[in-house]
Symmetry: C2
Subunit: 413 residues, 2 copies
């Protein structure tokens, strides 16, 4: 482990990106058998085996239809024409932190299946994506730390749109990233509120990023790409299908430190996102409304749940109290009361566990890079703990990967 | 204990009623020292001692100002002219059940004071009233069992008034008594909703019942007296003062099996009623509303409390689930789905504890009266338990007091 290049850089080569593009095209998002196969064999070997048709039946079942026609080079070229790039786990900006809960949940459910305690996981499960197609420049690494998923009905009322817009504006003013799905109603109001505040907004699409859905939201997609980020698991050209919306919703939940339901009828898809957030152990927040409004009925039901009830929230400050450490919340809240605009982003040091803090404390000083083995000696933590903590610290934006190892973020090399 | 006349009948004479009228005039509602003095000495001796000025200093402090001028015979005569009568604890209809929690709380706080654990209770404490001035014919005995206190802001919005009226209408349709304070806004909407359903409404006033407050509500007072009941701790002619409103609020909370807050600003008096209900161990229910409405802010705050949060309710059915046993709720709900109007009132047998049920089962059959000692033998419960259970059974309207003892309600003697 004393290599000067971190182990996670193994996927950094272009052939790995081609493999990821191929895998992202060949199967639908959230295919558990393929995810397990890639976890076991790695991207390169898994892609080659899928293309050759030399895979177990359950992997074949979810890849056979497209295995010979998928053309990752063409997909990457098409993406480039639309300013879309493919993000893979070895990339600096991969949202490790946001996906840690997805990975843990997926692994737990697979283990439960292998122990005979539940049916074989197939589709729409809480597993991380194999790759992400993105457009825009907003950072992903801190997603899940200082971000809120804002969801709700397409058939929103003017009250719901007003609240979604106002809350998102207030969150964006405090450097909180607003995550939503780009749909009509609450989604659009949330994106627009964040953009109006000059903040960052992440739009997670169910189809290809070159195909805005609904098509009337082309301008919203473009504005979001300029000021925030468009994200999809599907390569360019993909149509948004029903199952892709459900898979997409798990990413929205994973990207938010908390999920805020602004308006939802009794059977709204927003309740599906809330369920994912709950499964991931993230707080679900609900905005109350008139009891005479069917569009608030789902929110009220969430608050009334006997098990894991949603938290009723009525203000931006209350939402902030659920999306990060006390320091994260207190900093910008205090700052925003001062003239001159929002306070600078605080480091999410308080959100780290004891091991991650120890590893962070082990860094020798601004500018100097260290290997995993050196960090183990400097921090006093076992090498396995160091390796586990590094993605978290990277996800939190506290360290960066350098050619010769790792160093503190924001320090000149 | 084998006397043929129940012990609680000792106050039944007119001289006891005169003493209660005197005590109700001489001190402000909720005066703890006077209550303790009456508990110790009984109404007759306490009234005589107060009139003579031969009382401990703390009792003198709350009675001295009016002890020589109070004229209970004149008050009773004035009451009669306004169709107002004075109810005392020995009366058949005294709301023992509703006041059981007040009595227990008052006794506990006095005991804590005597043990040096808290300051001497003085005013506005959770003690039962010494007497009640009432006008109207609705029964009080079942208050606290099948009744809901509906409270909220005077400066209500049209949304709040709509909800108060609709909920109260639905509750009254299901034989639930609606209790409120007769003020503008939520109170008035609640009374009117119950009256519109042909149901019963109890209006608890802070001043004398001959002085409607606000004066614009004279017609509401008259309609409530016809169809429900007006209640006050103060004798006729009394003006509503601020402290009397606070004392009055404890009665509203005690009269409701649950307290429903429809709208309340952050510092609304309705939150005071909710606090009393909480102190009495009664459920507090809150109606959500737009987060943009200051009039719903207090309701949302109640739901957000860390300790004893209020239950968010959005329908009459949800309110009903908090005001009585499953049978109480299910009966009329099922019945109301049938054509032909509300179902008949069910017996609150399920609301009783094991001892009270045993005592009830001990009654020998319709029509025959039994003494406390006979009931002890018939039910197999100790005489002390029988004496404790009788007020509960009377409060629930299951038994009545006869000259020769007790008998099942609704049975010919």
């Amino acid at each position: 482990m004393s290599t000067a290049v971190p182990a996670s850089a193994e996927l950094a080569g272009e052939e790995h990106r081609l493999a990821a593009a191929y895998l992202s095209r060949v199967a639908e998002p959230g295919s558990v058998p393929l995810w397990m196969f890639v976890e076991e064999h790695g991207y390169l070997a898994a892609a080659a085996a899928v293309r050759a048709g030399e895979v177990p039946p359950e992997v074949a079942a979810c890849t056979e239809a497209r295995r010979t026609v998928a053309d990752p080079a063409a997909d990457l070229a098409a993406a480039e024409r639309h300013a879309i790039r493919l993000l893979i786990p070895s990339d600096e900006d991969w949202p490790h932190f946001a996906f840690a809960a997805l990975r843990a949940t997926g692994q737990r459910r697979v283990a439960q299946w292998q122990a005979g305690a539940r049916a074989r996981p197939q589709r729409g499960e809480l597993i991380p994506p194999l790759a992400l197609w993105v457009r825009g420049s907003a950072p992903l690494a801190t997603l899940g730390l200082r971000s809120v998923a804002v969801v709700g009905s397409r058939a929103a009322t003017s009250y719901g749109e007003h609240v979604a817009s106002e809350f998102s504006y207030g969150l964006a003013q405090r450097d909180v990233v607003v995550v939503s799905g780009g749909a009509y109603g609450i989604d659009a109001a949330a994106h627009r509120g964040a953009l109006a505040a000059g903040g960052r907004s992440v739009l997670v699409s169910a189809g290809g990023l070159d195909r805005p859905y609904p098509s009337g939201h082309r301008h919203l997609y473009d504005r979001t790409a300029e000021q925030g980020l468009l994200v999809s698991e599907r390569p360019p050209g993909s149509a948004p299908h029903r199952q892709r919306f459900l898979s997409r919703n798990r990413l929205i939940a994973a990207f938010g430190a908390a999920t805020l339901v602004v308006e939802a009828a009794h059977r709204s898809g927003a309740l599906n996102s809330a369920g994912y957030a709950r499964d991931l152990g993230r707080p679900v927040l609900a905005v109350p409304g008139p009891v005479t409004s069917a569009m608030s009925a789902g929110c009220h039901r969430l608050v009334q749940r006997e098990e894991d009830p949603a938290h009723l929230v009525t203000s931006v400050a209350e939402v902030l109290s659920y999306c990060g450490s006390a320091e994260l919340v207190a900093g910008p809240l205090v700052g925003s009361a001062l003239p001159g605009g929002p306070a600078p982003l605080r480091r999410p040091y308080d959100g780290l566990d004891v091991v991650a803090r120890s590893v962070l404390d082990g860094f020798p000083g601004r500018g100097r890079s260290v290997t995993e083995a050196e960090l183990s000696r400097l921090s006093g933590q076992p090498i396995s703990q160091v390796i586990a903590a590094l993605p978290v610290l990277r996800g939190a934006g506290l360290i960066t990967v350098a050619r010769e190892g790792y160093r503190l973020a924001g320090a000149a090399s």
